[in-house]
């Protein structure tokens, strides 16, 4: 069903499925569901397989002007060690991954806690499309049209207390479904975290879609984090646990190699990885002879986020 999207021209979600087909498909699905609430929910396209179209409005304020990478590049070039360490392993090994039913546990320093179905988690949120830069710690980059909603809107619903200084996220631990979790290349489950003000920044996106459609499994379905001013590994995938905590969480890559990967992991051309330079990056999909381009501080989002780190030595807190 996937079409090879042209790289030079951006395609808005409404171009992907003609409206008549879109409506009839929705009606068919809706007819099979008894509950009105479920119907309303389904109408926006959640609860479906990857590639189902979502109802989305583009957030122009938070979208870059550059042309996004092709759907094929974004969905076949992934770092997702739960499905293998090779870039094409996730697209090959994640196809049978079950993303429904899916539940998310929210607990820690907050007034509202519990385990919620993904449907309940997503229901109140309108979806936006944001075309973000993506900079991997391995010094390559892409442009990706994500679909999601601000993490801040989600977190506020659970009424974090004044003790909540950080948010910790965990990926599903299910070695039966995730072959990488049977090995010990990293400590499972994958754990990430943000300082509260980072989590509440409007750029921080809870992501459920890509190119106007339900997120492919290999990109972190059903529910992942995108923090565009940080290296890609902060964007934890297949989240099933969110916890408000008082002290800084120990994150997976920082635990694995503390001298190479920090908690903050802000994109910073002035702080090299011990084994390679972060001053520049290779842009996936660019001409073979012209892929190298300079890396921008905070991945180009300095105007929005540099203020979060005033007075901090970013060489120490890398």
């Amino acid at each position: 069903m996937t079409k090879p999207w042209s790289q030079s021209k951006f395609i808005v979600p409404s171009d992907i499925t003609p409206e008549d087909k879109f409506l009839s498909r929705r009606a068919l699905l809706g007819g099979g569901l008894g509950m009105a609430a479920a119907f309303a929910f389904e109408r926006r396209g959640f609860g479906q397989d990857a590639n189902a179209a979502l109802v989305v409005t583009r957030n122009a304020q938070y979208s870059v002007a550059e042309a996004p990478n092709s759907f094929k590049d974004i969905s076949t070039y992934n770092n997702y060690y739960e499905f293998g360490t090779g870039k094409s392993d996730p697209s090959e090994n994640a196809q049978q991954f079950r993303t429904r039913p899916w539940s998310v546990t929210i607990d820690g320093e907050c007034d509202v806690k519990g385990t919620f179905s993904l449907e309940d988690i997503l229901k109140p949120h309108a979806l936006e499309e944001r075309v973000y830069r993506m900079r991997c710690v391995e010094a390559w980059s892409m442009i990706v049209p994500w679909v999601g909603f601000p993490l801040a809107d989600l977190l506020k619903r659970f009424k974090p207390t004044s003790n909540a200084k950080f948010v910790e996220f965990k990926t599903l631990l299910d070695p039966k479904q995730m072959p990488g979790e049977r090995g010990s290349v990293l400590d499972w489950p994958y754990t990430e975290g943000l300082r509260m003000d980072e989590a509440m920044n409007p750029l921080t996106l809870m992501t459920v879609g890509l190119y106007g459609k339900v997120l492919p499994n290999q990109n972190g379905a059903p529910f992942r984090l995108i923090v565009p001013w940080k290296y890609g590994f902060k964007g934890i995938k297949a989240i099933n646990h969110i916890r408000f905590v008082a002290s800084q969480p120990v994150t997976t890559w920082a635990r694995s190699a503390p001298s190479e990967y920090g908690f903050y992991a802000n994109v910073n051309p002035a702080v090299d990885h011990p084994r390679w330079s972060q001053a520049s990056e290779r842009h996936i999909g660019a001409s073979l002879f012209d892929q190298r381009r300079p890396t921008l501080p905070f991945n180009g989002y300095g105007k929005e986020v540099a203020g979060l780190y005033t007075g901090m030595n970013l060489k120490t807190y890398f």
Binding site: T85, V185, R275
Partner: protein, 210 residues
């Protein structure tokens, strides 16, 4: 084996050794729907480096194979495999400079002096050059026993090459570990032979026996 069959066999092995380079060339132009994936530069870089190491190890297999099979046919391929190791190592370097670094020589130089895994890799490449230059039969005759000494550099080069790979990967050391194990076996075999023959008269200077 007649000379004719031998040269046919050599030609066939030669073409087979070119396989990875042909695959990359075809994939880079997207011919016959061969694709190098979303990151063709990484595919080229990795494939060339990987085959350079494989050919180094294959070269180091020839002497043990002669010993095990009691036939010297293996040694007739040793130079070819060694030169293919050199060929893929040079392609690896060319892809790194031209595509990975987009030809920015200052950043290449910064990489070489600042990043130990690149320093090691570059050293291995440089050490391969004299071996390739002196690989002809005429040079072999001219240098006599010094040729054997010089070509023992391949042991050091193989260690540096595997080390370079090991330090370059982010986390998944499985493949570098395989290379390291294979190299340990090949070097261990030579150490074992040396220890066993110690006390005996030093072996002849016939390069075939090196």
């Amino acid at each position: 084996m007649t000379a004719k069959i031998r040269s046919l066999l050599k030609a066939a092995v030669f073409v087979a050794c070119l396989g990875p380079a042909i695959y990359l060339l075809v994939g880079a132009f997207g011919l016959w729907s061969v694709s190098l994936g979303a990151d063709p530069v990484h595919t080229m870089l990795h494939t060339c480096g990987n085959w350079a190491l494989k050919f180094l190890l294959i070269t180091l297999c020839m002497t043990p194979l002669r010993d095990l099979t009691h036939t010297t046919i293996w040694l007739r391929f040793r130079r070819m495999f060694g030169l293919f190791a050199f060929f893929y190592a040079m392609l690896h370097l060319a892809v790194y400079i031209i595509f990975d670094q987009s030809g920015h020589l200052e950043t290449v130089w910064q990489d070489i002096i600042k990043r130990p895994y690149i320093t090691i890799g570059m050293l291995a490449l440089l050490l391969l050059v004299p071996l390739a230059v002196t690989s002809t039969a005429a040079m072999q005759r001219r240098l006599r026993h010094r040729w054997i000494l010089l070509h023992r550099l391949i042991y050091l080069i193989a260690v540096l090459g595997v080390w370079h790979y090991w330090w370059g990967v982010k986390k998944d050391i499985f493949e570098p570990l395989l290379f390291a194990c294979a190299l340990a076996v090949l070097l261990g075999y030579r150490l074992y032979k040396r220890l066993r023959s110690s006390g005996k008269v030093r072996e002849s200077t016939d390069p075939i026996r090196a």
